[in-house]
Subunit: 305 residues, 2 copies
């Protein structure tokens, strides 16, 4: 009961901050949103690096990872400033941002540099054992956290960016909340997953249904309150909500798999009732980039997004 | 002695193939070069995945890794076809290539997908232990091999692309050859590296000197035989050759570090006298992308490249 209460309290504090940062911080060039991402990436990386610490048998190169994860993220932010057309970027920032128009080329270069600097560190500072594990986990952490969070800006830069952000983050959250309460109220049949043995089929079903209802509600609000047309039609909304609700569960299970491998329950105790930053954002780390992929494929096929 | 002979013989067979593929295969849209890359990436990945096989304690997801490494590489190739202006691309290929103009965005998406599919595979097919190692090594292999080889096309697409390819690959080779024979002939003082205890200071010095002489020779050939101006001035050539010769050694040591970690001497026995594909190309995996970084930074600072 206490955990449930803590969960709700945490949400009451975090949710308005989150909505403010992508809905109302335009006048501040979305700097609050950027900074929120900086914190999430830093804490998330710290958590996955803690899961990847095997002492003598290898552990990530923290400096290289923390630094390049933030460099990758700021490339996404600058690229966003350069591409969006909603507000004027101040001259100085605009000039910096202009350098980053080649953007994703720079991201791949940074990813290469993670491996390069990790290997150099390995040669100069570490014993031979664990080289592969150390280098591999350094780069895994950077990609796992900073590319998905970076794609948040890519989605926001789209014409209907804010609509997708509402659909996506709400859907992810509702899947989680629905599964949590659905499991507690109706949970009878275990879903039979080795990773999360306590999860029930009823919980997952409630999660998916909650996600669908939420997305349909957003569409309704879009038409009635915002007097705008939602980007997804009704059938597309239902299918999208169902598929991404499942992906959201997969994101959650994936992080659990890594925690189980490291024999840890919560990735950290940062957020009361939720565990660590990774426990809170694991589903989004899958749904954000996959939603972006869905949208660009849709656009390639000639549909407007 | 037999090893030396095998080394020379292998070089006599491989070198003309290599030079043909980037110097004379323009009429075939550099398809021979592309195919050579396909083979190198496949074999190289196979070798690094063999180094990363810890059985029950984790091993890479081969299907995901092999497939997405080639997808990433073909994005670089299509992007090259789209950007270069030396020859007409046939209409059909040109149309495919056009889709890939957003290119590096697609590369980052593929890198994300490596992690995504590895984690999904992990959840569905593997026991819990080794999840982090398995996912991390899958993505490490893909990036370590396919991004550097992909950058070969990025360098070739530059105005003086062929010049850089000669400088870079020759320099890398001469460092290796110079160090090998220099070490055998004059080697007295061990360099004191844990990874390669047999290497001597004299060997490394000969390697660096060989690289510098080679690069100056290329400049000379460029002026006298090709009647063209080399892109690097004399001082820049000397400094570039020295720095990249050291980077080349670092590339070699990095691969050795991974082999030592896996307790293996040669990454494979594919190329007589050289070991595996990784043993032959390890230095290039560092020098190619770092040379590209050097060139774009130079261009950003306003110099022509």
């Amino acid at each position: 009961m206490k955990e449930t209460l803590m969960r709700i309290l945490s949400a009451i504090i975090l949710l308005p901050m989150y909505i403010y940062s992508f809905q109302y911080s335009e006048g501040l060039f979305f700097l609050p949103l950027y900074l929120m991402g900086v914190v999430i990436i830093h804490l998330g990386l710290k958590e996955i690096y803690a899961l990847s610490n095997r002492e003598e048998e290898g552990k990530p190169f923290l400096g290289t990872g923390f630094f390049l994860a933030q460099v990758i993220y700021i490339i996404y932010y600058f690229n966003f400033l350069f591409r969006q057309s909603k507000f004027e970027v101040p001259f100085f920032i605009g000039n910096i941002a202009k350098y980053f128009q080649a953007d994703y080329e720079l991201v791949t270069i940074c990813i290469f540099l993670v491996i390069f600097f990790s290997l150099i560190n390995q040669i100069l500072k570490r014993p031979l054992d664990g080289a592969i594990f150390s280098v591999a986990t350094t780069v895994l952490g950077v990609i796992y956290v900073s590319i998905p969070i970076g794609h948040f800006f890519k989605i926001l830069a789209l014409k209907n960016g804010i609509y997708y952000v509402y659909i996506l983050t709400g859907l992810t959250m509702m899947t989680d909340v629905g599964a949590y309460f659905g499991g507690r109220l109706f949970g009878r049949h275990p879903a039979g997953l080795k990773i999360s043995p306590k999860k029930t089929l009823e919980g997952y079903a409630t999660g998916i249904i909650s996600a669908v209802i939420y997305c349909l509600a957003i569409n309704f609000i879009w038409v009635k309150v915002w007097k705008d047309t939602p980007s997804f039609g009704t059938i597309e909304t239902i299918l999208f909500a169902m598929v991404f609700s499942v992906i959201s569960v997969a994101g959650d299970l994936s992080e659990s798999a890594m925690k189980r491998d490291a024999k840890i329950k919560d990735s950290a105790g940062t957020i009361p009732g939720h565990g660590g930053v990774l426990d809170l954002s694991d589903a989004l780390l899958f749904t954000i980039p996959l939603c972006y992929i869905y949208l660009i494929v849709k656009e390639m096929l000639g549909f407007s997004i």
